[in-house]
């Protein structure tokens, strides 16, 4: 099997998760898919030079994470804030036939308010199911920092959700 055929066999199964992380970070489907395409391009070009020690998954997520952070910084500089509310629903999330509970929209809206580094660690660990060591590789920080950042992210999200509920009692579904 040639190098690239092997690469495709290994990378292809990870593409859906890369798309999910990109979309959760950028909150825009087209931007996110653009970014994933950049990741695949870079992965293919640097396939020989990748560090064998790191898992393929953390290598790809690291490329994606760095591109995503660049893109978010670029947006911030240009004053673009594609918040969940301003993005047409179909561009953001899931197939239109899928039912979204109020809770799911809630948690994404609150997630969007976290600082980028906290949102990243929460997504990598909770949603992408990376080990702490893999998350440390992706974020290029020591494992102790992964743990403290994760702890801060969860606590901030918890407080936001708790206070958000209190701040908008009319948004609650009353049965």
């Amino acid at each position: 099997m040639s190098v690239s055929a092997q690469m495709i066999a290994e990378v292809q199964p990870l593409i859906p998760a890369l798309r999910r992380y990109a979309r959760a970070m950028l909150r825009n489907r087209d931007d996110a898919d653009d970014l994933v395409q950049d990741v695949l391009e870079r992965a293919l070009a640097n396939w020989q030079g990748r560090r064998k020690a790191a898992s393929l998954r953390s290598w790809l997520f690291a490329i994606l994470h760095n591109l995503a952070v660049d893109r978010l910084r670029h947006r911030a500089r240009r004053g673009i804030d594609a918040t969940i509310e301003s993005v047409p629903e179909a561009r953001l999330a899931c197939p239109p036939e899928q039912e979204h509970g109020l809770g799911q929209q809630d948690v994404l809206a609150h997630l969007a308010k976290l600082p980028n580094d906290q949102r990243a660690v929460l997504l990598l660990v909770s949603v992408e199911d990376l080990s702490y060591a893999e998350a440390a590789v992706v974020l290029d920080i020591p494992m102790g920092t992964v743990m403290s950042r994760l702890s801060r992210a969860r606590e901030r999200l918890r407080r936001q959700m708790r206070d958000g509920v209190r701040a908008h009692p009319t948004l609650r579904v009353v049965r």
């Binding site: 099997m1 040639s2 190098v3 690239s4 055929a5 690469m7 495709i8 990378v11 292809q12 593409i15 859906p16 998760a17 798309r19 999910r20 979309r23 959760a24 489907r29 898919d33 994933v36 395409q37 695949l40 391009e41 293919l44 070009a45 396939w47 047409p88 179909a90 561009r91 999330a93 899931c94 197939p95 239109p96 036939e97 899928q98 979204h100 809770g103 799911q104 929209q105 809630d106 948690v107 994404l108 997630l111 929460l122 997504l123 660990v125 909770s126 949603v127 080990s131 702490y132 102790g144 743990m147 403290s148 994760l150 702890s151 969860r154 606590e155 999200l157 918890r158 959700m161």
Partner: protein
């Protein structure tokens, strides 16, 4: 009973199921003795569950053709008449040769073969060939609408009916079946008061079974494509893209999960 200390990192690991098995009972006992902390940790678990649920739909979406490495490889191979392994080598070579200019597979070289981009091409071609055919633009006229709908339903293996576009000032002329690489497609032809024609094109989707509505243009012919639950749609014509959008929205609302 003296209590073993538990670290915050261990509590986080407990949330994620990464705690050393030997420490699980210790952490559980500690949480039982600290109900406030137990509530906090339970909230973290609920958070993680909610995030996973809110985002899990994305991994079930079909990978867009532009991001599908296997598909890109096949196209490259088919075009060059190569076996997959040779095509793979070729792909890598092209990519590396492309360097920073990059992504030889980005699709500019070859027209889209799948997904709603391919559907757009088919719909625009069908418009060009059939919409203004002077002799026989349709195979079954609007008068036989019932027969038309059941014919399409049979050939596309799902219930299909002609959308009513009166609200957009469009009257059904009739329809025909169109052959594509992806099997049969249904074509409904409409006409507005000033004689401008519009096609509504439908076919089952293998790739991009669900896709958002987006504008398309192919020369003078423009339109909109989307896909819902395995059925792809195209609304094409030579009218301004905004007025086509109005018609597309009506089609979508009427034919959603037919």
């Amino acid at each position: 009973m003296s209590e073993e200390p538990v670290t915050e990192a261990e509590l986080q690991a407990h949330v994620d199921g990464h705690l050393l098995p030997a420490r699980e009972p210790v952490v559980l006992a500690w949480l039982a003795a600290h109900p406030e902390e137990a509530r906090r940790i339970a909230a973290y678990r609920a958070q993680a569950d909610a995030l996973r649920q809110a985002l899990e739909g994305i991994v079930d979406e079909p990978v867009p053709a532009a991001l599908d490495l296997r598909l890109q490889l096949q196209h490259l191979g088919r075009r060059a008449g190569l076996r997959p392994a040779a095509a793979a080598a070729c792909a890598a070579g092209l990519l590396l040769a492309g360097g920073a200019g990059g992504w030889a597979l980005r699709g500019k070289a070859l027209p889209p073969q799948t997904g709603t981009a391919a559907l757009a091409r088919e719909a625009a071609s069908s418009y060009a060939v059939y919409a203004n055919d002077a002799t026989r633009p349709v195979e079954l006229a609007a008068a036989e609408r019932g027969a038309l709908d059941s014919w399409f339903s049979r050939r596309l293996a799902r219930p299909i009916r002609a959308p009513n576009l009166q609200a957009a000032g469009l009257t059904l002329i009739g329809g025909r079946l169109v052959a594509t690489e992806h099997g049969a497609a249904a074509l409904y032809l409409y006409q507005d008061q000033v004689g401008r024609r519009l096609v509504v094109y439908l076919r089952p989707m293998q790739v991009e079974r669900t896709d958002h509505m987006q504008p398309r243009r192919d020369g003078a012919i423009g339109g909109w494509t989307w896909a819902d639950d395995g059925l792809g749609f195209g609304v094409f014509g030579t009218a301004p893209v905004d007025s086509l959008h109005g018609a597309a929205n009506i089609v979508r609302s009427q034919l959603k999960s037919v």
